[in-house]
């Protein structure tokens, strides 16, 4: 594995030494945890591993109907076959959704009254990776407790076994995209959007959104400028909306005089935005824009994780709404949304939950919400973006040997308590001031401590980062 691949998760300055990369390359190419199982194909993500996890999931759900889809990575067919074999062996009825976005599968799980689903996608991770994401019967991801139960079954390795007269001998093929489009069309004011005849650029990253997003935009009467919409071609860039990956999209927005540009990740969860004036918005802005739009129509709780920008708090305050903060991870946000009857939610990584569509990240739903707003208000997206509070956010990763990482965080807890500094321990450690905050947590996917700081000014942000870094490395 090359160092830059290992370092994919890091956005800020790195303190990893070169030896550490080599040591970490092995450690890092597999991650089994709450967000599923994720690894590098050809290294640790083997067909046996995929089979065993599928068997564990089939055993966990006590057989029943399970839907399976994948993104467009070239390892998709291998992982798909392994997952189907494992599920069939435990007596599950498998429905093959082919290549489709994860949110399409999540809707199909409910519509087909399935026991669950497995989405084969490493989301925003680069092409060499793949992963299994586990969806339960209500279309949401397994929560932390359920993921732990699944892991226990996986480790115990005593799986249900279907006998010859109980095993399903066929795999049914179904389309999940058309039903998803129908749900989307029923959730938004399609007629109003159609009348505006918006020009919309979209970068589908040659992944599963190629099959959904251009059709959705066409249904909304948009003039669609689609790029990278060939699901048989390789990823043109990292499958993650970010400043570097959205340069091509910005060029298309400019050349095509588009009203807005959207960038998808590999499985239809994260969304990036380019304004009509050619500004690439940070991925943190997607949820902020969605919150501003939704709260201007109805007030109610906004739900997001504790690492997401305080812009959300300022926007909510403007509209007299509250913000509920959860640990990092989509399952936490979804469950808190349902419990609090949130009106909008998501994460700073560009994932937005629009409850009218479903209680989980759905980038096509976010597109519907934003275009509906542009159509109704005739306000350009740059004006909307200008209304967002802007802060400086810095992300920094500190590599720590896996055997030391938890005790290190424990030491921080104790020190802060001794010094009587108030902090939030929803997920890791978050210390807040009037003008900023610091969040340190152990990554779900790598052996690193992530530090995120946000402040009103760049100077203050760097000050807070120095403070946090000194404490971690003390």
């Amino acid at each position: 594995m090359s160092p830059d691949r290992a370092w994919k998760f890091a956005n800020g300055a790195s303190e990893l030494s070169l030896e550490f990369f080599h040591k970490k390359a092995i450690l890092n190419s597999l991650k089994i945890g709450i967000s599923g199982v994720r690894g590098v194909v050809g290294e640790t993500f083997t067909p046996e591993l995929a089979v065993a996890f599928a068997q564990a999931f089939g055993s966990y759900l006590d057989s029943g109907r399970i839907l399976v889809c994948c993104d467009t990575r070239s390892s998709g067919p291998m992982v798909f076959a392994a997952v189907v074999a494992g599920l069939l062996a435990t007596g599950c009825e498998v429905v093959d959704l082919g290549v489709c976005p994860t949110p399409s599968l999540q809707i199909a799980v409910r519509q087909l009254m399935a026991e669950g689903g497995i989405s084969i996608t490493a989301g925003h991770n680069p092409e060499p990776w793949n992963a299994l994401k586990f969806v339960r019967s209500d279309g949401l991801y397994l929560n932390a407790m359920q993921a732990d139960e699944l892991l226990d079954i996986f480790h115990q390795a005593e799986f249900a076994k279907a006998r010859w007269n109980g095993i399903h001998s066929k795999v049914e093929r179904r389309d999940a995209v058309a039903p998803h489009l129908e749900v989307l069309a029923n959730a938004f004011d399609v007629e109003a959007i159609r009348q505006r005849r918006l020009t919309v650029a979209v970068d589908c990253c040659n992944s599963s959104c190629s099959l959904l997003s251009p059709r959705w935009l066409a249904a909304l009467g948009c003039n669609v400028l689609a790029i990278n919409d060939d699901p048989t071609a390789p990823f043109p860039h990292a499958p993650e909306p970010g400043t570097e990956t959205m340069a091509q999209l910005r060029a298309v927005v400019g050349a095509g005089h588009a009203d807005i540009g959207f960038a998808h990740d590999a499985d239809g969860e994260r969304l990036g935005i380019v304004t009509e004036s050619g500004e690439i918005l940070s991925e943190e802005a997607t949820l902020a824009i969605a919150s501003e739009i939704q709260l201007s129509r109805e007030t109610g709780p906004v739900v997001t994780n504790i690492s997401t920008s305080m812009a959300i708090d300022r926007i909510a305050a403007r509209h007299g709404a509250t913000v509920i903060r959860t640990p990092v991870g989509q399952a936490f946000v979804s469950e808190a949304m349902i419990e609090a009857r949130g009106v909008v939610g998501g994460e700073g990584s560009g994932g937005v939950i629009v409850p009218r569509v479903q209680w989980t990240h759905d980038s096509a739903a976010a597109i519907g919400l934003i275009l509906e707003h542009l159509a109704r208000t005739e306000e350009p997206v740059s004006a909307l973006a200008a209304r967002l509070p802007r802060f400086t956010m810095l992300k920094h990763n500190i590599a720590v040997e896996p055997d030391r990482i938890h005790s290190l965080l424990q030491r921080l807890h104790e020190e802060l308590k001794q010094e009587k500094i108030d902090y939030d321990e929803t997920d890791g450690i978050k210390v807040s001031w009037q003008d900023g905050w610091v969040h340190a947590r152990i990554s779900n996917t790598e052996s690193i401590i992530r530090i995120i700081v946000e402040a009103e000014t760049a100077v203050r942000a760097h000050e807070l980062l120095d403070w946090a870094r000194d404490r971690v490395k003390r």
């Binding site: 590098v40 050809g42 290294e43 067909p47 065993a52 070239s74 392994a82 062996a89 006998r163």
Partner: protein
């Protein structure tokens, strides 16, 4: 320690019971081992109709793709079709997913080399070494290939047969043929081949659902329905296939099974009539075949049991026809594999060109009496049983290549351990039924005295 009788890993492949020992993990590993063994080329796969076939297929596909192989998937088709396609596509190998005659709860992988032949002993041992060693080839996602479905394989197989043998001669009386495909892989191709040959077809058990309508082996006791169909519809002949359509048994126009040993005998009679040359059969095959070979002045050679051994010997001898007494006909000009479809075509051509009925053809053949028996036997006892038989019958000529075959003046018998089950197989052939029974009782008695379990 408790034995696990439901899994058999051997040079014949891997065979086990679904829901017990034949897990997807085991299958994935064997497919990985095979992909490592062949290197990253094209692998052709096909399966019979067993209910577990889809699960096994997916596991095999996952294992093969992970080693960088390109997979050509024929889905449900006869084993000989897989073998034919391996050669047609110049593939690196093939995997046939079938437990042949084992009951419905079993399934298995059979491994095919780039020549379309089952792996020979040395090749199979190398594959097993790789399997046990566990260091399988891994390719990155970017190097992974896709699965290519291949819908036209069965048409290609039928065409290959018609190209060599042609349809039945015009002008001859149109034959009426009953076929029983055991709801197996032959269901989708057997009736179509008969149609292409130009006969009238009566088909039974041709729903490819993997639910066994009868015992899977095409032996007389399993052919009641076919015999009835032949009689009811006034058919000239009845053909019975097994699950994977490599073996063929024949029912005469009177609705009587002629015994699966005679499939190869009749096929040989037709082939040698067209073209003289060496004949090869395994050493458990009836002596009636020797009589047919001699009548054409052709030499006959015996090999160890198992398709791989027969084809290896056929290659060495340049045989024009060969096979096994269990109904496996190998006609190299079409397919270097046991092929029930080829067998049907050869026998129908023989009938059409001689104008004879099955019972008429049988009347001209010598009919020694054969008995086959199985005795349960612990795997670790098999060798001592064979040693005992060898020592007890020292006074007669013997063939020790595969178990112990003893050639006595008025008959022969063979004792060998199975590659696929914990049993001993006993085969006896003698000039009369009485003599055959006398021999088998004596041999069985001596073995039983040893205490096998």
């Amino acid at each position: 320690m408790r034995a696990i009788p439901s899994l058999k890993i051997s040079i014949s492949g891997v065979r086990g019971v679904v829901g017990e020992s034949l897990t997807p993990t085991l299958l994935v590993r064997f497919a990985q081992a095979f992909g490592t063994y062949t290197g990253p080329g094209t692998i052709v796969i096909g399966r019979d109709t067993r209910t577990s076939g889809e699960m096994v297929r997916q596991a095999v596909v996952a294992g093969l793709l992970s080693t960088g192989c390109r997979v050509v998937d024929l889905d449900i088709c006869p084993v000989p079709t897989v073998q034919l396609l391996v050669r047609e596509r110049r593939a690196s190998g093939g995997i046939a997913i079938t437990a042949s005659h084992n009951p419905a709860e079993w399934n298995a992988l059979k491994f095919i080399n780039s020549a379309g032949l089952f792996l020979a002993d040395a090749q199979a041992r190398q594959l097993l070494d790789i399997y046990h060693q566990g260091g399988y080839r891994k390719v990155s996602g970017g190097e992974m290939r896709a699965v290519e479905p291949s819908a036209g394989a069965v048409d290609l197989h039928i065409k290959a047969i018609i190209d060599v043998l042609g349809p039945l001669p015009a002008g001859a009386r149109k034959l009426r043929v009953a076929i029983d495909s055991c709801n197996g892989a032959g269901s989708i191709v057997g009736p179509r081949l008969l149609d292409a040959l130009g006969v009238e077809v009566v088909s039974i058990n041709v729903t490819p659902d993997g639910l066994f309508p009868r015992g899977a082996e095409p032996v007389p006791e399993n052919l009641g329905a076919l015999c009835a169909a032949v009689r009811e519809h006034g058919c000239d002949v009845g053909f019975a296939q097994d699950m994977d359509a490599d073996r063929l048994a024949i029912v005469s126009e009177n609705g009587e099974p002629i015994g699966e040993e005679y499939t190869l005998v009749l096929a040989t009679q037709y082939v040698l009539g067209r073209e003289r040359g060496p004949v090869v059969a395994n050493l458990a095959t009836t002596d009636a075949l020797d009589a047919v070979a001699q009548s054409f002045g052709c030499p006959i050679y015996r090999s160890k049991i198992g398709e791989a051994n027969v084809t290896e010997e056929m290659g060495r001898r340049g045989a024009v026809i060969g096979g096994e007494g269990n109904g496996g006909v190998i006609f190299p000009r079409i397919n270097f594999a046991r092929d029930s479809l080829v067998g049907m075509a050869l026998v129908l051509h023989l009938m059409a060109e001689t104008g004879q009925t099955i019972s008429g053809l049988m009347a001209e053949l010598p009919r020694p009496f054969m008995l086959k028996e199985k005795m349960a036997c612990r795997s670790d006892k098999i060798r001592s049983v064979l040693r005992m038989v060898r020592d007890e019958y020292m006074q007669w000529p013997m063939d020790l290549r595969d178990g112990v075959k003893v050639m006595m003046p008025d008959g022969w018998f063979l004792v060998r351990g199975s590659n696929t089950e914990p049993i001993i197989r006993l085969v006896v052939e003698a000039k009369s039924e009485e003599k055959a029974r006398q021999i088998i009782e004596e041999v069985r008695g001596r073995i039983s005295e040893m205490g096998l379990n």
